[in-house]
Assembly symmetry: D2
Homo-oligomer: 205 residues x 4
Amino acid sequence: MYPKSIQKLIDLFSRFPTVGPRTAARFVFYLMRLSKEETEELINSISNLKKVVKICHFCFNPFEGEGELCKICTDPSRDRTLLCVVEKETDLITLENTKKYKGLYFILGGTVSSLKKEEIKKLRSEELLGRIKNPEKFGISGSQFKEIIIATNPTTEGEATALYLKRLLKLLNKKITRLGRGLPVGAELEYADEETLGSALEGRK
Amino acid sequence: MYPKSIQKLIDLFSRFPTVGPRTAARFVFYLMRLSKEETEELINSISNLKKVVKICHFCFNPFEGEGELCKICTDPSRDRTLLCVVEKETDLITLENTKKYKGLYFILGGTVSSLKKEEIKKLRSEELLGRIKNPEKFGISGSQFKEIIIATNPTTEGEATALYLKRLLKLLNKKITRLGRGLPVGAELEYADEETLGSALEGRK
Amino acid sequence: MYPKSIQKLIDLFSRFPTVGPRTAARFVFYLMRLSKEETEELINSISNLKKVVKICHFCFNPFEGEGELCKICTDPSRDRTLLCVVEKETDLITLENTKKYKGLYFILGGTVSSLKKEEIKKLRSEELLGRIKNPEKFGISGSQFKEIIIATNPTTEGEATALYLKRLLKLLNKKITRLGRGLPVGAELEYADEETLGSALEGRK
Amino acid sequence: MYPKSIQKLIDLFSRFPTVGPRTAARFVFYLMRLSKEETEELINSISNLKKVVKICHFCFNPFEGEGELCKICTDPSRDRTLLCVVEKETDLITLENTKKYKGLYFILGGTVSSLKKEEIKKLRSEELLGRIKNPEKFGISGSQFKEIIIATNPTTEGEATALYLKRLLKLLNKKITRLGRGLPVGAELEYADEETLGSALEGRK
């Protein structure tokens, strides 16, 4: 339908998260309107990503700079008894923005919707186990984890993943917690589902 | 625009909650298609509402039957140390449906968005005070309230109302609580606001 | 769940167009807050609807006043060679508001989604036929209809109804038209469906 | 907030149409999960776009292949008396998909919301004039344009642009048309605006 090179790039953009063929087409025509310099800037920036960005040896968060650990993992003021397990990088940023969490993180890399072997391989569950048992081995010194917060989404996949991790971490004898359920800002009781409302009643303070 | 009688009824229906002129017009033409018997059934039902339905002497919940108290307030198995203050009748039903609340209720009748005199008069704050101080006077015997849950919505008006009630009830020396804030079922961390997420972190378990 | 009289009225309101149980409950609690006078005003207005409002003998539009015909049908300045067939009363009002239609109307009373006998009985197809063949019999004098606009919605039911009426009216040898299809105000070509766009191309001017 | 290289690419993606910072961040983390080969495939595809894709000398539609004209402009079966002016490339594709347009196209490259000098420069109005007056000069032989369809959106900007073009093309003495206005598929009269409905009445057939 479109000329070959245009269609090729539309197909590649269509794989981006949240992008369908119509938006991908808009991206391609936007790119065609960019100057030669702007296009090179974009290409170099994508290229650079792969070259300059490193993955933190402990928490798997991307970072730039010296060493093997990211800024959070090397920050001496962080609480090394607290580990918060998240699904993806953007969740880590979202939690950091609350300025209410002072512990360390671990990025799981995905969720499981079932307990099929292929799905479980997606998660970094073995890596997580290793880092909880022996943080020193991965560069985190001077402390033992006392509490693991499983901060996956309260969605079907997030819950399934939390259950799977709870079972996995059971023998480590640490305190395992989930983020509190309840009414979000702006909610109306009338439209809240029974489960959320039940949690809000139990979690009242 | 419409014949007088039709326009009159459209105007009356337009005052119903969530109803605008277009929907009110649909209501009127729907009514015109009803048979004489169906119309009388509706008129009698509205008429009956005023005659048969009573307002509970303690909690202000509408009810039918003997006496001055509703089914919940006369139920001996309810926890009479716990009082849950809600904005309106539909909130009471929503909370009862969770089957997780065993105390008594009080229907406030509205919210305040500011502390203007006219607004505050809308609430049944004096009636609430009286019922907490002296429940026996209003038909609730055998107990003292130990905890008051202010279950107004976590909206701007709901919060303003909660603050107002907290100040009002301060001198009574009871435990005052709000429904737990946090992530509702199906939420995604990525899209949660900072306040809700902060509450979810604090309320973790 | 609710007391009997309340539940009864909720059930009756739930039958109103666009109203579900939650909104019906809000209506009932709104009514309970009305004064005795306001409730009587509503009841009288509903009652009055049935007594005072008449159905136009020609076009089936509701009206108030003397005679058997509504204001439009008795208006001598209307174009009696033009008849516009609509699904319901609110469509008639919507078309009148454009101030661009000067002919007469006929309210069909519904649509057919199939050609089942029960469905077809809902429409006033026989009445429509009678009025086109012999308008004088129903109070419209001085003219013959030259064009019949079938102004049912361009939806699946509206189209099915239009087809059915076209077949019915075929032998009368009048000009039969449908409202023009095309792009509505504010539309974007990118999001228009092929059928609408095809009509817009054909109907260009 | 993010490491420098990541933030840089997030900023560049944020300029893409419909993309905000949150989606841009998701794009960047998606890219970081791609393999080296997949990343190179994307970079090459973007690079290739600029090298291989040409802009049609007549209609400004992107294409690949020999010569200076796109497939549509060189197609001998196209109606060379008909020119359809569109805002952007995706509108051309949308109209082609109806299979109901057999003429040639011209891509304007934008719209004007006012008659400010800078805005008008965005449009290819001079190029359009030149191609209508003298199509042979730009590679289109054997015909004179008889009708120009201004197929900009029926939005405020699209209408302003159409008015501007009408004035510009006035002296050329060609038939100027706009796409037909009316009810789109699935519309309901009740919710149609007066302008669209008026057009639907006028355009009835």
